[in-house]
């Protein structure tokens, strides 16, 4: 088969449908959203074409600043905790026998694809007064009376880490699965302990992967929009929740769009950084 540039119209034809679908239903909606972010809101939940910066000016308010800094702090915390657990876990996972590895992957994928609604419901049940783990602690005599642990910051953090953990493992999985473990064996043969080989050989060799994964987990956590509503209090609402709230309940599309554009820029910059880091390591 000769792989050359397509010439005739017939040779180009197959890409027509996918290209059209992606342009009409992704590029145009995306562009429209950017346009709406400059539109002027009119009373009654509508907006009209205009070019105003008022929607972006609202970013300068103290309220928005608080939401933004809380979102970034929360996503950062979730990302670091998730990677700290997922990295040693994935290191073990890739060296398990094939069938055990597959069982774990099925389990992780199942948890990963669970709806946020379901994760939020499951955690709020787990942390509730009537059906939660505190009942277990009461039963073994560690606590006097069952109590509710949700909503709260701890509950939110637990839910978000639970959601981000499988994602983090799957981002780390290819890099660790392809890692040449003979390097670690060499370190072991030369007398270093398993922990020392882990921290002095594996971690430095995959430094860029780890940083890249923290960034990907950060962007993933930034996207959570239901858990803060289900497991947190109103002061724990993140940028994603605020966007949904403005778009649906406050009917302020222009402001929601402006925040979304901002979120896109932050996410794209971070993902770009993660890709560059990943590529640099791949070429080494």
């Amino acid at each position: 088969m000769i792989r050359r540039p397509p010439r005739t119209l017939a040779e180009h034809a197959p890409i027509l449908f996918p290209a059209l679908m992606l342009i009409v239903f992704f590029v145009i909606p995306f562009g429209l959203m950017i346009a709406v972010s400059f539109f002027r809101r009119v009373q009654g939940g509508f907006y009209e074409p205009d070019f105003v910066l008022a929607n972006y000016e609202r970013f300068l308010s103290a309220f928005f600043g608080n939401v933004l800094s809380f979102s970034l702090m929360l996503a950062g915390l979730v990302a670091v905790v998730a990677v700290a657990i997922a990295f040693p876990f994935t290191y073990r996972l890739v060296r398990l026998p094939h069938p055990a590895q597959v069982r774990w992957l099925v389990f992780l994928l199942s948890v990963l694809s669970l709806s946020e609604v379901i994760i939020g419901f499951a955690w709020s049940t787990l942390l509730s007064r009537t059906a939660g783990i505190t009942n277990l602690l009461v039963a073994v005599g560690l606590m006097e009376a069952p109590q509710s642990l949700s909503p709260g910051f701890g509950a939110l953090l637990a839910g978000l880490v639970y959601q981000a953990f499988p994602y983090t493992v799957l981002v780390l999985y290819p890099a660790l699965a392809r890692f040449d473990f003979s390097l670690m064996e060499a370190a072991r043969t030369l007398g270093s302990s398993p922990a020392r080989a882990f921290f002095t050989v594996l971690v430095p060799a995959l430094r860029n992967t780890i940083v890249g994964t923290v960034i990907m987990a950060f962007v993933f956590a930034l996207g959570s929009y239901l858990l803060p509503q289900l497991l947190g209090r109103p002061q724990h609402w993140t940028l994603s929740v605020l966007i949904t709230d403005q778009a649906i309940y406050q009917s302020n599309m222009p402001f929601a769009a402006a925040m979304a554009v901002f979120l896109v820029l932050v996410s794209l910059a971070l993902v770009g950084l993660a890709l560059i880091l990943g590529r640099r390591e791949g070429s080494q």
């Binding site: 088969m1 050359r4 040779e11 197959p14 890409i15 449908f17 996918p18 290209a19 679908m21 992606l22 239903f25 992704f26 145009i28 909606p29 429209l32 959203m33 890739v94 094939h98 590895q101 597959v102 992957l105 099925v106 389990f107 199942s110 948890v111 694809s113 669970l114 709806s115 946020e116 609604v117 379901i118 939020g120 419901f121 499951a122 049940t125 787990l126 509730s128 009537t130 059906a131 939660g132 783990i133 009942n135 953990f165 999985y173 290819p174 699965a177 392809r178 962007v219 996207g223 929009y225 239901l226 949904t244 778009a247 599309m253 769009a257 979304a260 979120l263 896109v264 996410s267 794209l268």
Partner: protein, 266 residues
């Protein structure tokens, strides 16, 4: 040896921690009365029956399954020609569409959802059920695109060469050589998109939230009005469907490879 034991204990503990919220929900779902209590008081499967007997829940289940089936089929239809084109022809410019197909999956979902909300309202189709199918198909096109690209990369080009020497044209090669080879990848791409569409909330909500209830939307709406044990039984049903589908992918395909364990040259 000792560190290996500690490792397995920790891994076991982690598995337990991941399973615990779901186990509690499973326990709650068999309560005899309409209470949220764990350990369950009494035993009853009536909340599972109610998913199918209550018109509201059954309707939501049917909506979700229909949406997931149609949208994942459409996303395979979008991804297949694109992945094939990229593999068949030397066209660097077409990579732009590949990147475009990956983007919605990487960005926070609320962004894609908001894009669709403004688009559907602008063209006056907001709330119509087919919009959810298109939205999900575009949102999840990444998954069949990734699995199909892996599938095409695994096709040995000398087979194609042999077939064309024997006089097969592009169409015949596609039908008799390539399609059978990439079919497992196509099916897993479909299955990934199906499961994620089944569980997706925000894009569906912003396209058809006020006119059609999918199961995640129904659960969320029910959560706001208080507790009903059907939420627990429906959750268990969903976890079971999800696990079965991924189990099937693993049974018929190479899951570690699909998730990138080996490089293309292997």
């Amino acid at each position: 040896m000792r560190s290996a034991t500690i490792g397995s204990v920790l891994a076991g503990l982690l598995a337990l921690l991941l399973a615990v919220p779901l186990l509690v929900v499973a326990g709650v779902s068999v309560n005899a009365k309409k209470t949220l209590s764990f350990p369950p008081q009494g035993f009853s499967l009536s909340w599972y029956a109610e998913i199918f007997t209550d018109p509201g829940w059954r309707g939501a289940l049917v909506n979700s399954l229909t949406l997931a089936g149609l949208s994942s089929a459409l996303s395979v239809l979008i991804a297949f020609p694109l992945a094939w084109f990229l593999w068949r022809w030397k066209a660097p410019w077409a990579r732009a569409f590949e990147i475009l197909g990956m983007t919605p999956f990487i960005l926070p979902p609320v962004i894609t959802a908001l894009g669709f909300l403004s688009f559907w309202s602008a063209i006056g189709a907001y709330g119509q059920q087919w919009t959810a199918v298109v939205s999900h198909a575009v949102f999840f096109v990444t998954l069949p695109l990734v699995t199909l690209s892996l599938g095409f990369a695994a096709v040995d080009r000398s087979y194609v060469e042999a077939a064309s020497t024997m006089g097969a044209d592009d169409r015949a090669v596609l039908r008799t050589v390539i399609l059978p080879l990439v079919r497992p990848y196509m099916i897993s791409g479909f299955a990934f998109a199906f499961v994620l569409s089944l569980n997706e909330y925000i894009v569906a909500y912003m396209s058809v939230g006020f006119t059609m209830e999918t199961l995640p939307i129904k659960i969320f709406n029910a959560l706001r009005y208080g507790y009903t044990p059907v939420m627990a039984s429906v959750t268990v049903l969903f976890v079971a469907i999800t696990a079965v589908i991924f189990g099937l992918i693993a049974r018929f395909g190479d899951l570690p490879r699909l998730l990138g364990a080996w490089s293309k040259s292997d």
